[in-house]
Amino acid sequence: MLVQFYNVTKVYRNGVKALNDVSLKIDRGEFIFLMGPSGAGKSTFIKMLFREEVPTQGQIFISSRSIVRMKRSEVPHLRRSMGVVFQDFKLLENKTVAENIAFAMKVVGAGNREIAARTSDVINLVGLKGKENSFPGQLSGGEQQRVGIARAIANRPLLLIADEPSGNLDMATADEIMELLYNINRKGTTVVMATHARELVKKGGKRIITLEAGRVVSDMCALEQQ
């Protein structure tokens, strides 16, 4: 079991109840779509996975460790076991493709030789060979998201978290990005992906968790849903 949520409730300081008594489990190697309208609590759920937010009530375990009771100094180590992909890519504009990926490895203390080898590996994996020295501004949206994914998997995370990774991309590019994520999942990385895009989800045939007003309203496989 990789992730366990027990009766998790989150009430923000302004009184908004973003999650309401959510309990669920995610196994190692699963691919999960997190669906629901805006304001349903998807972002809060995702932020709790990498402990940007902590629950008001309830418990969250990752690899059997409570991340609610976790000390602040232990949070960096938790996050090193995860990779995050953002809707707006969040690439550093003044760094090249290779530097953006190397940066993520440098941050967690990797050595220079390891960084060089791994950077070239993940660039190949996401299909950006030849673009190592381009700056994000010189790339298309789809290419930028590939850099975002390469950066997220550079440190070999157990869990890949993707928040609307194809939200800013056209359908064809979105399909390519999804293919890349499935590919990464097939190699053993657990993936949790929040999305609005029903089409992508239907094609995937994966587990779908639907949130509405902070509650889990359905948790099933895509085939069952149809």
Binding site: V84, V107, G111, N155
Partner: protein, 295 residues
């Protein structure tokens, strides 16, 4: 701090300094101005204190003696004064010497005091300095009780007012300096916050990837310290230049104000200002950064 990262931290700090040239320059200028003001305040305080010390040490007690005392009796009075608690230094001024001093205040052609007065009306006296000028009133009272002393003078009334003034000058200059230092920290923290705000995305990203707080902090601290040192150097240059020319030029015009000019002391002031630059850079960065690290 992980030593294998030192090179990386310095590189990041230098890259950021040169990339955000305008903001770096603004911060350095702000620091230079703050440190310059701080330096001016320090020199003003030191010189004011020095001036006050000098004024206070000028205070002396004059013990006028009975004219009838014989030489051995004079010796006895002197011994008694020296034995009084709080006395530092005793100088005998004979009546002839006193007359000469008075004569020197007039021009000799206009008035020959000896001739005008016929005989010397001035008494023998002892000039007494107290160890602590603040205690001059008590010491004067004790001396006044010694047999053979018929009157004691120490500028009664004026001295008390002087002490009031020196006390307030000291307190006000300290308050002034503290306010200035706090203002400098606030101003510098604000400027650095602007620089950090421009890079909040990068900080957020580093934290999400799993950077420790210190990994994020170090390049910013190095940057802050470098800017602090640069600002301090500019300020010290201006201050040293200005103060040296003040000593050279104004010594004659303001001869009654003794300016502190020992090189070793000034060097100490300048080094302290450089240290203040480092401190301001560090504290300013620390205050500004913490808010962005809470991810």
């Amino acid at each position: 701090m992980n030593f294998k990262n030192i090179g990386y931290f310095f590189k990041e700090a230098l890259i950021s300094l040169s990339r955000n040239r305008v903001l770096s320059l603004a911060t350095i200028t702000t620091m230079a101005v703050c440190i310059l003001f701080l330096g001016v305040a320090v020199l003003l305080t030191v010189n004011a204190g020095n001036f006050m010390n000098q004024l206070e040490s000028d205070i002396q007690i004059i013990a006028y003696l009975d004219d009838s005392l014989t030489k051995p009796q004079l010796g006895e009075v002197e011994a008694n004064i020296k034995a009084t608690a709080g006395v530092q230094e005793v100088t005998f001024v004979s009546k002839d010497e006193a007359l000469q001093r008075l004569q020197s205040k007039f021009s000799e052609e206009d008035y020959d005091l000896q001739q005008t007065l016929g005989k010397n009306p001035l008494p023998n006296s002892y000039e007494v300095k107290a160890v602590n000028p603040q205690e001059v009133a008590q010491v004067a009272q004790l001396i006044g009780e010694i047999p053979g002393v018929y009157k004691v003078n120490y500028g009664q009334g004026v001295v008390e007012k002087l002490f009031q003034v020196t006390k307030w000058v000291r307190i006000l200059s300290m308050v002034f300096m503290i306010i200035l230092a706090l203002g400098a920290i606030f101003l510098i923290a604000t400027t650095i916050r602007l620089a950090i705000f421009a890079r909040r995305k990068e900080i957020y990203l580093m934290k999400l990837i799993g950077a420790t707080d210190w990994f994020v902090r170090w390049p910013f601290f190095i940057e802050g310290i470098l800017m602090g040192v640069a600002g301090a150097l500019v300020a010290i240059g201006l201050l040293a230049g200005g103060y040296t020319s003040l000593i050279n030029n104004a010594q004659t015009a303001l001869f009654f104000v003794p300016l502190v000019s020992q090189q070793s002391f000034l060097l100490q002031v300048y080094l302290s200002l450089a240290a203040a630059g480092v401190l301001l850079g560090t504290v300013g960065t620390y205050i500004s950064l913490n808010r962005f690290l809470n991810v």
